[in-house]
């Protein structure tokens, strides 16, 4: 059974209220490979990856260190180009995009959430969330309204003026989630989003992500080492030595 078939089958098993739209494929990877050059040697990182992710899905990407999880996430986020294969996201072949096309595409289609939040320490929560909107044509008033809505969604409306140093780890990650959501992207990519949090806070963040997936129909791909985090996803993909293995 191919991985894409596995995902499609699993999607039909989820409850009706949370049902992922069948055949509405958001992400399609066909024969994707990635190799890096180390001196004169070519090092394969990903080999022949074939995956389809439905719109509205929540996929956990697991595997040991060095298995290629982050590389795959980077390819999905348009931060890197595959060495071979076809990568289609929301109907666009992003593997054919130039660097500047990828930059514009990222701004409109992808939200990133990192393990260490990566907020700008000199900006308040609301200014951090506003950053992606600076790339749009929205007016200052419109940007403020979007920021307020995003912070409200993650439950941090009352912390808008606080700086990252004045927030707890969980709150910082919520701000990072608001920043990822504010431009209403098709895809949320999370790299170990709970890796720096205690269990209780991690569960809160995972619950929030689940809520975004189920209520806002956000498509999420999350890299994690933590099986309990993966339990919050609809599907789990396992990578080992650059190859996708059975779910």
């Amino acid at each position: 059974m191919s991985n894409s078939a596995t995902l499609e089958k699993s999607a039909k098993e989820v409850p009706a209220s949370n049902e992922v739209l069948a055949n509405d494929v958001l992400v399609s990877l066909t024969n994707i490979s990635k190799t890096y050059k180390k001196g004169k040697e070519l090092v394969p990182v990903l080999t022949d990856i074939n995956v389809k992710i439905q719109r509205g899905d929540f996929v956990a990407l697991m595997g040991p260190s060095g298995s290629g999880k982050t590389t795959l996430l980077n390819l999905l986020g348009g931060l890197d180009n595959p060495s071979a294969g076809e990568l289609i996201i929301a109907g666009q072949r992003i593997d054919k995009f130039s660097s500047s096309q990828l930059t514009k595409w990222r701004a409109q289609n992808v939200g990133f959430i990192f393990q260490f939040y990566n907020l700008m320490p000199v900006l308040s929560a609301e200014k951090n969330v506003e950053l992606p909107l600076l790339l749009t044509n929205l007016t200052s008033k419109e940007r403020k309204a979007h920021v307020a809505a995003a912070l409200d969604l993650v439950g941090l409306a009352d912390r808008a003026k606080h700086y990252p140093s004045e927030l707890s780890g969980g709150q910082e990650q919520r701000v990072a989630i608001a920043r990822a959501l504010v431009s209403d992207p098709n895809l949320l990519l999370c790299d170990e989003p709970t890796g720096d949090l205690d269990r209780a806070t991690a569960d809160e963040i995972l619950a929030l992500m689940q809520e975004l997936n189920q209520e806002q129909q956000k498509t999420i791909v999350m890299v994690t080492h933590d099986p309990r985090a993966a339990d919050h996803a609809r599907h789990t993909l396992h990578l080992d030595k650059g190859k996708l293995i059975q779910e």
């Binding site: 930059t103 409109q108 700008m120 950053l131 790339l135």
Partner: protein, 385 residues
Amino acid sequence: MKYFYFIFKNLTRKKVRTSLTILSIMVAFLLFGLLRSLSAAFDGGAEIAGEDRLVTIHKVSIIQPLPQSYLAKVQALTGVEKATTANWFGGYYQEKKNQFAQFPVLADDYFDIYKDLIKLPPAQLESWKKNRVGAVVGRALVDKYHWKIGDRIPLIGMFPQKNGSTTWEFVIEGIYDAKTQGADTSAMLFHYDYFDKSRQFGEGTIGWLIIKVKDPKQSAQVAAAVDALFENSFAETKTNSEKDFAKSFAKQFGDIGLITTLILGAVFFTMLLVAGNTMAQSFRERIPEFAILKTLGFSDVTVMLMVLCESLVVCVFGGILGLMLAKFIITGAAVEFAATLPGLGMSWKIMGMGLVLVILLGFITGAAPAIQGLRLNIISALRRN
């Protein structure tokens, strides 16, 4: 404009470092303003010197006198419209620190030859001509010493009078003003006859000749003719254009232009290293943050411009502060040194040059980190996080 808040917040992230960088740039441009203004003041005479005027001095040195009889011979030369004489007096008013230029001149011709630079009301000129001990003074002197027409001004001169006294008394009969910006109004002019007949030694000699030529294009030929006229005499001459004379006079104090250029060169080179290193360090500390910006969709060029903007803001802010402070100091000093260093002032030309340098410094110091920002690879930069 919408990025400016972010740029400003980044600049204020390390307030002490930013303040010290701004301060060092401010000092560099303060020095630039002061030294360039000083240099311009020394070169000021050459800048406004007339194309149609020549100055004849003794071939050996300006301090060697020439016979007064040379005047008539020069006036008779073809191509000479008018000629007059002047001497160095070297006196001071009340105290030695109150030194300014004083020249015994020929009242009939002096203002005519310099009519493009200075002006004296005709009635005052006439009064002066009638008073043997009369003098006319420039506006800068009047402003400094609060003199007025009719005041008796005693000067202690380096020339003793025949009665042994070194105190020379003059009556102010007129006040002359500048006709052209930068013209010197810090001198006192009095009658050569009074000076010549009263001094203990050197009677019948002059310091230098000022010649107005009929055609400025013929200046070189007239100068050569003057020097040829006195060749092999006991007092050979050297005739130059007034511009060259002013330049060589200023160079007696050293090549101020070269000295200031060398000092400023060293200052700006040091500034480039200091500010450039600070900008580079500030960029290095934030590489993961720039990577995040690129991840969010900020283009390579936008990141590059943000880095460049930070450098420009620091340099422009520090530079303008320095130039303004220099302008303030020079304006104050110009009043204080009006008599000793006429033409001292910070012109718009110097201000403009300063602004161009400020922007250039901003671009150069920001260039290296800006290019790094442009080329920053997101994945490698995020790995540093």
